[in-house]
Symmetry: C2
Subunit: 216 residues, 2 copies
Amino acid sequence: MDHPQPLVTVDAVLLTLRTTGLEIALHPRDRAPFKGAMALPGGVVHVDEDASTEASIRRVLREKTGFEPRYLEQLQVFSGPDRDPRKWSLSVSYVALVPAAELEAAPAGFRFVSVDALPPLAFDHADIVAAAVARLRGKSSYSTLPFFLLPERFTLTELQRTYEAILQTTLEKSNFRRKMEAWDVLEATDDYALGAQRPARLYRLKDFALFDRSVG
Amino acid sequence: MDHPQPLVTVDAVLLTLRTTGLEIALHPRDRAPFKGAMALPGGVVHVDEDASTEASIRRVLREKTGFEPRYLEQLQVFSGPDRDPRKWSLSVSYVALVPAAELEAAPAGFRFVSVDALPPLAFDHADIVAAAVARLRGKSSYSTLPFFLLPERFTLTELQRTYEAILQTTLEKSNFRRKMEAWDVLEATDDYALGAQRPARLYRLKDFALFDRSVG
């Protein structure tokens, strides 16, 4: 208790899938340090109102973006004397997976950038983004995590494109559909997506519980 | 910067494998709060000397146990207004995998308890232990993580017993050996373990890099 305590912040990597691939939502900082630089949405823990650091990031996102992500996962702590010029600081970082339409509709007016072409970011936010992308890619091949990047109802082709964008590979269609069938996580709806080609059945995830083959 | 800041601590779950199965190393707290209760080794971040929270936990372990674990992984942040009676607090928790002989030799004089029969612990340390055990069990079936619970050289039977203790199951010997062969992570030494039965070849991990099939 005698030692000066670190500055404790929370930051969120809002991952989404847009036409160019995996992107994150950033905003320019409106105050020092790094005023004007692009940054992850984040803020300081308020010990007088937050029940936990997860409550802190949910409050910050609500205030700054006007929505609560369906999928939010604690990522990692980044800490040290040099990452914030003000003082020794610690960021509890989170990763959220958000369908593009939800983020684009947020009042915050985010700027979207590809995770493969980041501009210079404030603090060590580039390291936080890299850790979030590695976490998503590492977990995606054996989990339903990618579903959270899609709207509630989607076609099998949209689902496959989502896995392909995250895993950075091309999947063979019949293998992919067999794998989904074996996982038994999809529920067909009565509706179809009407597009340039013939109508495609819309599916949804059976329940929104995260399916993780490495744990289950 | 205007808000009072949380108390920032670091705690480590030292997991080891002893004859009764998976155990953790605890010590009784020598001061309030929870004086006398069993607790994880941990301490407060020292911003004047620690380069990061990982440096903090390594310093604390060095001071309290006299050794540095070969395998240390950041686990999760536990936080909130009620977990520490002193103030709103945050613990950055770590999990270390340590061969039993190393922990038993530590000057600290740890007490070992089975992860399946924990006594009442200080703070929310029981939650931290549960998260550490879930992490280890979740990752073990597809990684070489369990190797870090073994001494540098081990027999194939010892290796199989280690996986079995973590995964809480019985593995079929020839399947297990085929899997290890497919992973290509073992290196035979020229030495043998002499025991009650016929001498068994000693192996070691090819290199100490963590092998994780879900990421690689």
